[in-house]
Structures are given as C-alpha cells and as structure tokens.
C-alpha cells in the first residue's frame, strides 16, 4: 500500500514538472527540478534530525550558508598577493582565538573550583581576545585593501567546486557539534533558540567579513562542475546533437547545462538517500527511534541519549551543509543577503512535515512538492489578485497595493499549510512505516 502511494505521488510530481515543461518552458521546468533536488537533500538532512530523533533545528539557514562559504573557499581562484599581505595574519588571529577558547576550557576542567579558576579563565579570554584582534585586524584590512572593487578578499584554493560539497558538510558538522555540545541534554526549546541564534550570526559573519566572502559585494562567477553554454555552442559534437534534436543550439545549450546539473544532483541525492535508509534500518536507526519515542525508557536501557542526539544532530547538519554547497554551486555566486530564514529554514521545515517526518521518501517528496508550489504560487497568487481586483479601476490605490502585496501571501499560505498538516495529518503525505 505504501509502495503504491509512493509511486502515485512521485508520478504526479513528475507529471507536474512535465506539464511545466510542456506548457511554460523546459528551462523553467529544469530550474525547478534542480532546486527541488537540492531542497530534497536539505529536507533529508532535517528529517535525520527531526524524523529520526525529534530534534527541532531552527538554524538550517546557517548550516546551508556554511556550505556556501565552503564553495567559495574551495573553488575560487586565489587572489594574487592576498596571502602574503594578510592571509597568514588572518588565519593566525583566528587560530589564536581558538587556542584561547581551548585553553579556557582546559583551565575550567583542570583547575579546582574557586576564585582563582574564575580569574584565570576571565584573564585568558580577555588576553586572547585582544591579542587575536591585534593580529587579525590589520591583516584583514590589508586583504580588503587589495583592489577592493574587483577582489578585496582572500580568494579560495582554486580546486574543483565539487570538492566543496563534502567540505561544506564538514563546516556545518563542526558548527553543529559546538551547538549540540552546549544545548543538547537541556530542554528541547534551548536547541531551537540556540540554532536560531547561530544561524543569524553565521549570516552576519558572511555579510561583514569582507576578507573572507567579500561581504555584500558578493562573490560572483564561481567555477562550474559542468560545461559553459558559450563553449558548448562552439563544440562540434554538441552542435551535431542539437541538429539531431532539431533545436536551436543557443536555447538547447542552456537546457543541456541544466540537465548536467540535474544529473550531478540526482547522484548526490541517491547517495544521501541510500546512506540515510541504510542507517534508518540498521540497529542504530532502531535505537534512534526508540530514544525519540521514549527517552526515559531508552535511558533506562542504558542508551546515552545526549550522546546519540549529538551524533544525529551533527549528521543531519552535515547533509544540510552539503546541500548548501550544492545550492551555491548551482547559483554560481554567494550572495549573503539572499539568506532569509523564511526561505531557508522554515520552508525546509514545511517540506519535512508535509512530506512525512521520519520517512526519507516523504522528505524527498516534501522537498519536491513544496518547492514546486513555492515557485508556482507566485504567478498563481498574482493571477488570483488580478481576478479579485478586476472590478476596481486601473489606478485604484487598493488594487495596486493588493497586487504588490501578492508575494507576501506566500508566507501566510505556508504558515496555514504547516498548521493544517500538523493538526489534521501530522504524519504527512508519506507516513513513517510503523
């Protein structure tokens, strides 16, 4: 029965995408498909945290942004002279900060409780802060002053961008470990609030640390894992193929590039899905669900609940980080201002809950369905507003206001969908197998 349901829903989804391809354009359809695939991977990551373990992460945006940062640091060509001028200073400053935090933690653990411990920890933190600022400040300033209009940042390592996907996962995993270490074991609200906080801070860092990400000047023109349209249009085998399909090579090249991306993303999705399914079916997965369903009894059985939660939280965040790096790869640019919590955190949540928490196929379906409607709701909303206001005069203030505000209806619709699904169908479209 569930298998039939799986097939039915995914067939409907495929038909919807085909419909967009036939009636709107193949370009639009493939763009939606690519983002659906990335959303599905992100939803898988959140499903690992929420569906397997019941952890409420409100900082998905931050982990996705760390993936984007990894894409810049790995793939962009290094900037001439930036490393000599300030690269080592910037790294040294950061390293010093990390060392002083580690030293403070070490002191906290090793010294006896008392006045002296407090004083030494405070002293280590203050000295560490000023010392690292002293090295870090001039170094970043030097980097930012190199040709600020065009570069003004450190650049990356110039490696193939696909390598940044696992690196993005690593970054997100480290951030998740720190947050999880602090908040897991306390009540569930604290994890939610702390992840909300860390994601805002990660975005703030991306926006303001120009030496690393160029800040709001954005990093553009990132290298691609797939061929460029312009090169394709002059390649012989491509022109032959285009002729064979009987299409215009310029239009076909952009479709071809999107298909290449889709291929890469599908491979990634299948890898992540296979790993998640294997994990879910393993004894480890059963243990996670046992902990989720009854923490007290799992604890009594000798399971270390906090440790397992930390593990699953890091794993889920790694998947979100990978998806974040893939998203930046697809965009070909890192624009810190485009990271909005509603789009990156709460939309992904709705995907997981609508799709069916605890079921990996459900998370994927949710990613497809919600992203599809998120994109297609805009023209539909505008159409609706035009119909509603058609009786009003052309320059009526109310009419213009309603049409301009149609975009905000999406937020409300998403909220209502979330509330309705949570109440009337809390198990989602594809419920977890029991």
């Amino acid at each position: 029965m569930t298998l039939n349901r799986n097939i039915l829903y995914f067939t409907i989804m495929a038909l919807l995408l085909l419909g967009v391809g036939l009636f709107q354009s193949w370009n639009v359809s493939l763009s939606i498909l690519n983002l659906c695939l990335i959303s599905a991977i992100m939803a898988l990551g959140v499903n690992i945290q929420w569906g397997y373990a019941g952890l409420f992460n409100v900082g998905i945006m931050g982990f996705a942004a760390l993936g984007g940062l990894a894409a810049v640091l790995v793939a962009m060509p290094p900037i001439e002279g930036a490393w000599d001028k300030g690269g080592w200073g910037a790294l040294g400053g950061l390293l010093l900060a990390v060392i002083s935090i580690a030293l403070a933690v070490f002191t906290y653990k090793k010294m006896k409780i008392g006045k002296y411990r407090t004083i030494s920890i405070v002293a280590i933190c203050i000295i560490g802060f000023f010392l690292s600022r002293y090295i870090f400040g001039p170094a970043t300033h030097a980097i930012e002053s190199i040709n600020p209009a065009k570069s003004g940042y450190l650049g990356g390592l110039g490696l193939p961008i696909v390598i940044s996907w696992p690196i993005g996962g690593l970054f997100a995993g480290i951030a998740a470990w720190v947050i999880g270490k602090i908040t897991l074991g306390l009540r569930s609200d604290y994890l939610a609030i702390a992840t909300l906080g860390i994601s805002e801070i990660i975005i703030a860092v991306l926006k303001h640390e120009d030496w690393m990400t160029r800040g709001v000047k954005n990093v553009i023109g990132m290298p691609r894992p797939v061929p460029y349209e312009v090169n394709l249009q002059t390649t012989e085998w491509f022109l032959d193929m285009s002729n064979w399909f009987g299409t215009d090579p310029v239009g076909f090249s952009s479709i071809f590039v999107k298909i290449c991306y889709a291929g890469l993303f599908i491979v990634m999705l299948l890898i992540v899905l296979w790993l998640s399914e294997t994990a879910l079916k393993s004894p480890w997965g059963r243990m996670m669900r046992a902990i989720r369903d009854n923490e007290v009894s799992a604890n009594a059985m000798g399971k270390n609940v906090t440790k397992r939660h930390l593990q699953v939280f890091v794993l889920g965040s790694v998947v979100v980080g990978i998806a974040g790096a893939m998203l930046t790869t697809l965009d070909g640019q890192l624009t810190p201002t485009s990271y909005q919590p509603l789009r990156f955190t709460f939309l992904i949540w709705i995907m997981v809950i609508v799709g069916g928490s605890g079921n990996n196929w459900g998370a994927i379906l949710g990613g497809f369905v919600i992203w599809f409607f998120w994109i297609e709701a805009e023209p539909l909303g505008l159409l609706l507003m035009n119909v509603i206001t058609s009786g009003m005069s052309e320059d009526s203030g109310l009419r213009l206001h309603l049409i301009n505000s149609a975009a905000h209806m999406r937020l409300m619709t998403m909220g209502i969908i979330l509330l309705l699904v949570l109440r009337f169908s809390p198990r989602g479209l594809l419920p977890e197998k029991s």
């Binding site: 409100v58 906080g197 303001h208 709460f346 409300m412």
Partner: protein, 337 residues
C-alpha cells in the same frame, strides 16, 4: 574636570540612556515570552511577530487619528492608538489559541509540537503584517522629539557635550515601570493572578483545587497581547517599525528570558537589562570617550570598539550560551528541564 563631565555626558547619551530604554523594551517582550512559557510551557517563536502585529495596528490607528487632526500635543499620538492595538492583538491571540493551541493542550502533546505550531502562527502573522503594511520602514512618532535637548544643555552648562533625552526614551521607561508594577500587582494580589501563579508552579495541583485552565490560558494571552503591543510600539517609537527587525528581536528577547530564568517574570526584566547593557556597551565605539579621559593630546587611532555593531546579535547569543553552560536555570531560578 570638564573633560570628565564631557565623558560622562557622552556615555549617558550614547550608552546609559539608550540602554535603559532598550532594556525596558526587551524586558517587556521577555516578560511576555516568560508568561507563555510558565503557563503554556513552550517557547513562543511568534512573539516577535506578535509585537509587529500589535504595533502595526497601533500605527494604522495613529494615521487615522492624525488624519482627523487628533493628537496629544507633546506626546506621540500612538499612545491614544495603543488600546486598539492591544484589543486587536488579544483577539488574534485568543483566536489562535482556540484554533491551534487548544487542540494540542487537550491532546497533551509534547512541548516541541507547540513550538512548531508557534512557528506556523509566526508565518501567518508575518504574512498578514507584510500584506497590510508592507515590508518597509514606517515612522510614526510625532509630538516633541526631546525632553532635554543637547544644544540647550551645552549652552547652559558650557560644556562641549550636552545631555539629551528623547521623548521616546523617557516614555519607554515610565510606561515600562507602570506596566511592570501593574503586572506584579495583578499576579500577586488578584485572585486570577494568584491562580495563574499556582498553575505555573504545579499544573496538576492547580487543576485539583478547581482552577479553570481555560480562564488561566485566556488571561495569559490577554496579558501577552498587552505586553507585546506596548513593547513593540515603544520600540517602534524609539527606533522605527520594520517587520523583519521585529522578527530579529526574537533572539535578544529569548536571551533575556533565559538569562533571567524561563518562567520567572522578575528574572525576565533583569535579563532584559543585562542583554541591553551588554549589547550597547560592547558595540559602542569608545574613541571620543577615551579622548576625553586620557591626558594631553593622546588620541586613539581606531574606533576603540570591542565588537562591530553588525554583530550585536552575537552579544545576546554569547550571553545566552554562557548562561546555558554555567547556569541553565538562569540567574533567578527558573524552569530548566
């Protein structure tokens, strides 16, 4: 001597007075969060947007009154519009409780379900506010701008720096004091208030002794509407109204409530001031201040700023993390687990 006076005035203008005003706004917000936590037992993610919704209604009524030419002279017209904002917010919150939260309460759902439901409410409010008033900045302060003007003070005292206090800052502090006093009177002296505290301390015992849970919950939401609308309006008068800023206020408000101990209103007020003072003192550039207090011509080259203003949210986050690490129940004992 004069330099020291100048330095003191400078600090007063840019650190103490703004921090007291901001702290009062955070405190009012945090008390709202803490009340919901104490009675309904979840962290209300919609609180920032509830503030935005209340403020939006206040702004709309302010514009209406302004168009009729009604005003309060030196005070902002928004005060007149405040009751309407509170009523609209209370109606919305009671409605959201009836249609959303009540179902989960009767089912005795786990706390995280409420959390997700509050995220849903947040979305809806976000949509409503942006749909009606738009995502942009709105200024709605009118009346006098200053209680004490810097220029007049400079002439009077003959110092380089003057002292200035904005009407919105004075108004914020006075209103906050009145609201907090009224709230504590209500919680400690009235029958309903006492039953609320009993409910917060021990739900089962309170139910056994015949306290009606529906009444307690409704009164809580009305109190939240009052607190959130007042906090939001004061913040909007002091700075400006922008829906996204109100969403972002969620982090400092949560931090205040947790620092003070979740579920403890007195702690939430203290937490609000802790967060506000740290945020402003850590991000204030002390360049001019240092120039006044050090002898001779020695002046710092940099801004003498501990942390760039862009990272002000990091301050509340770091304080939050420290509290969670060392004292998860908050400074004043609240509920932790």
């Amino acid at each position: 001597m004069e330099d020291l006076l100048n330095a003191f005035f400078l600090m007063s203008n840019f650190v103490f007075v703004p921090a007291i005003a901001y702290g009062s706004q955070l405190a009012l917000g945090a008390v709202g969060v803490t009340l919901v936590y104490g009675i309904l037992r979840f962290s209300n993610f919609a609180h920032g947007d509830i503030m935005a919704f209340g403020t939006m209604v206040v702004i709309l009524f302010t514009w209406l009154f302004q168009s009729y030419g009604i005003n309060l002279g030196p005070l902002p017209t928004a005060i007149l519009a405040l009751p309407f904002g509170i009523i609209a917010t209370a109606i919305f919150l009671l409605g959201s409780d009836k249609f959303v939260y009540k179902f989960y309460r009767e089912k005795k759902a786990i706390p995280v379900t409420y959390l997700i439901a509050s995220v849903g409410i947040m979305f809806v409010l976000n949509g409503i506010v942006r749909f009606i008033i738009g995502p942009n900045d709105q200024r709605f302060a009118d009346g006098e701008r200053f209680i004490i003007k810097a220029k007049a003070m400079k002439q009077y005292l003959g110092t380089a720096e003057g002292v200035s206090i904005k009407v919105s800052q004075g108004l914020t502090v006075i209103t906050a004091v009145i609201v907090v006093m009224a709230l504590f009177w209500f919680l400690n002296k009235t029958r309903t208030g006492k039953s609320m505290r009993a409910f917060s301390d021990n739900e089962d015992l309170a139910l056994l002794s015949g306290i009606s849970p529906d009444k307690v919950v409704s009164v809580t939401w009305i109190l939240v509407a009052i607190l959130a609308t007042i906090a939001g309006t004061l913040y909007g008068l002091d700075k400006s109204f922008k829906p996204f800023t109100y969403f972002m206020l969620l982090l400092p408000i949560f931090a205040s409530a947790i620092v003070g101990g979740l579920g403890n209103p007195l702690g939430a007020i203290a937490g609000g001031f802790v967060i506000a003072f740290s945020e402003i003192m850590i991000t204030y550039p002390y360049k001019k201040f240092v120039a006044y207090i050090v002898p001779g011509d020695w002046k710092p080259d940099g801004l003498v700023q501990l942390l760039a203003t862009d990272y002000k949210f990091a301050v509340s986050f770091i304080i939050l993390v420290l509290v969670l690490l060392f004292k998860p129940t908050g400074i004043f004992a609240g509920k932790s687990v």
